[in-house]
């Protein structure tokens, strides 16, 4: 049925690439065309602030798929091509190079771009970069290699900022993180975790300063001074901006597709136009487990939505219903997170009596919402099981490190019927 049809995908990153392969696997016989403005073969983004940044690898060591695998699955990969406009009624894409591409099904996987805050003097700062693309890493590596003093100021204490801090410290930088809120990771974790990571960075020689609202950057002879509204000033040879993202919704907005904090999609990843799907960071979607609409920035969501959209386009009955999970690697700490902690009423910490190994459990009453596991994959998988099943946890046993970490040992005996 799909033989003479064309499925076009805008954005060839975690969502778009996984979608293309999943679509072929689900039995799509028509053509599949991927478009991305980025000229590089599609690559993994998470390592950009982690192991890839500290390595001297070229991007071809970090690819999502090898070039030949696209050919093998007959997936047309168009790189360095920006899509300018969707003409919805005619089912045609207009590329910025003037060409037009007709589609039967369209998938928007445009992700997000770094938010660049309106800071005075930012445009004329020297060696100032965001971190989202392979080119950004290349720029940062070059600037770093050519800098004598390697004083790095990172604006923003979220995961990307903190990972970048750890990586550049490892490379020998003198790194300072400036966070506007009273604690780092304020948007995503409990104060307990913020404190832990603040100390972790301090112990590794990275200064993390909170309540620092950067208002101006002055640059003279290639040397920046980063100024905060409390009057403090930080000299910087390199500045990394990591203050969050803006979703790439422009194509969808212009095409008149429904938007709400991202491109709004149903449980099949379909937009308000039945022939147009959206997947990955750019979507605002319903999470059945938490019973609310959310927007996520994670590989898990990109990959899982990609599979749902592919199956749905091939006529299978599917629904997006997965638990969000995420990870972050900083120094010798591996953080694994599962679930969504928003709305928690209390947290419990289980310490394993081993250095740097614990887990933080977020509850809403007796309901487990989410877990942050530090160097503790077992806590992560046990938590995943409990969040999925909804079985009640015996909280006293949970925090008792002498109780072996097995689901059966942690079950609450008083089960609510």
């Amino acid at each position: 049925m799909s033989e003479n049809q064309t499925c076009v995908v805008v954005g060839a990153s975690h969502a778009g690439v996984n979608f293309a392969f999943a679509l072929r696997k689900a039995g799509w016989q028509g053509s599949i065309k991927l478009f991305d403005a980025d000229p590089s073969l599609p690559y993994h983004r998470p390592p950009l602030s982690k192991a890839y940044l500290t390595s001297s690898d070229a991007i071809d060591k970090n690819l999502l798929k090898a070039a030949e695998t696209y050919q093998k699955d007959d997936i047309e990969l168009n790189l360095g091509v920006k899509v300018g406009r969707i003409e919805r009624t005619a089912q045609v894409l207009h590329l910025e190079n003037g060409e037009q591409v007709a589609f039967d099904k369209l998938v928007i996987a445009t992700g997000a771009r770094p938010f660049i805050p309106p800071i005075e003097g930012l445009d004329s700062a020297s060696n100032l970069y965001p971190l989202r693309t392979a080119q950004d890493v290349e720029n940062i590596r070059q600037a770093f290699a050519h800098s004598a003093q390697k004083r790095v100021v990172i604006i923003g204490g979220g995961y990307i900022g903190l990972e970048t801090a750890a990586s550049l410290k490892k490379l020998g930088g003198e790194v300072t993180v400036l966070e506007r809120e009273q604690r780092i990771l304020a948007r995503v974790t409990a104060p307990y975790m913020s404190d832990y990571f603040q100390r972790l960075h301090a112990d590794n020689g990275v200064a993390v300063a909170t309540s620092k609202n950067v208002v101006r950057i002055e640059t003279r002879d290639g040397e920046n001074s980063v100024q905060c509204d409390d009057g403090t000033v930080y000299p910087a040879d390199i500045i990394i901006v990591g203050v969050g993202i803006r979703v790439n919704t422009e194509l969808a907005v212009q095409a008149g597709i429904e938007i709400d904090n991202g491109i709004k999609v149903n449980a099949q990843a379909q937009t308000s136009d039945e022939n147009i799907y959206a997947i990955g960071d750019c979507t605002y979607h319903y999470n059945p487990h938490y019973q609310r609409f959310i927007r996520l920035e994670s590989v898990q969501n990109a990959v899982d939505q990609a599979k749902v959209a592919a199956a749905s386009i091939c006529g299978q009955e599917v629904e997006y219903d997965t638990l969000p999970w995420f990870w972050s690697d900083q120094y010798d700490v591996k953080l694994q997170m599962v679930g969504l902690s928003q709305g928690y009423t209390d947290i419990l910490v289980r310490d394993e009596n081993e250095p740097k190994k614990f887990s933080v459990w977020y509850f809403k009453g007796d309901e487990l919402l989410a877990v942050d596991a530090v160097n503790n994959a077992k806590a992560y998988v046990v938590a995943t099981k409990f969040i999925k099943s909804g079985e009640q946890i015996d909280k006293a046993k949970l925090v008792d490190a002498s109780v072996e970490f097995k689901p059966a040992n942690l079950l609450s005996r008083v089960q609510v019927c």
């Binding site: 996984n18 993994h44 998470p46 390592p47 982690k50 192991a51 970090n62 690819l63 798929k65 090898a66 030949e68 695998t69 093998k72 699955d73 590989v299 898990q300 990959v303 990870w327 690697d329 591996k334 694994q336 503790n376 994959a377 077992k378 992560y380 998988v381 046990v382 995943t384 099981k385 689901p407």
Partner: protein, 102 residues
């Protein structure tokens, strides 16, 4: 140079050769069905699960603690399970047979 043999869940046999990198990278580069490597090889996603042929288990050695923990509640895991992003390619692996987990 080591030869590594993957057997997918559809019983397709794929023979590959490599000198360095991880076994997951080798599989992904060659499009071995069932090995996705979503986390890029940092032991966070468990999408690179293989069962080492029992007679070749000495070539890979057993799973590390984090691999075991990641697979602890996976119904398809057994004593020969490995997350192959954690297996470095070396001469020692030559001839190893890896069954891709479901």
């Amino acid at each position: 140079m080591a030869k590594i043999i993957f057997i997918t869940s559809d019983s397709e046999k794929i023979e590959l050769e490599a000198t360095s990198g991880s076994v997951m990278e080798l599989a992904v580069q060659n499009g071995v069905q069932g090995i996705d490597g979503d986390c890029g090889g940092v032991c966070s996603c468990a999408t690179c699960h293989v069962h080492v042929a029992p007679e070749h288990f000495a070539k890979t050695g057993p799973a590390s603690e984090i691999e075991q923990d990641m697979l602890e509640l996976d119904d398809d895991a057994n004593e020969y399970s490995r997350l192959c992003c954690q297996i470095e390619v070396s001469e020692q692996l030559d001839g190893v047979v890896l069954h891709v987990a479901k």
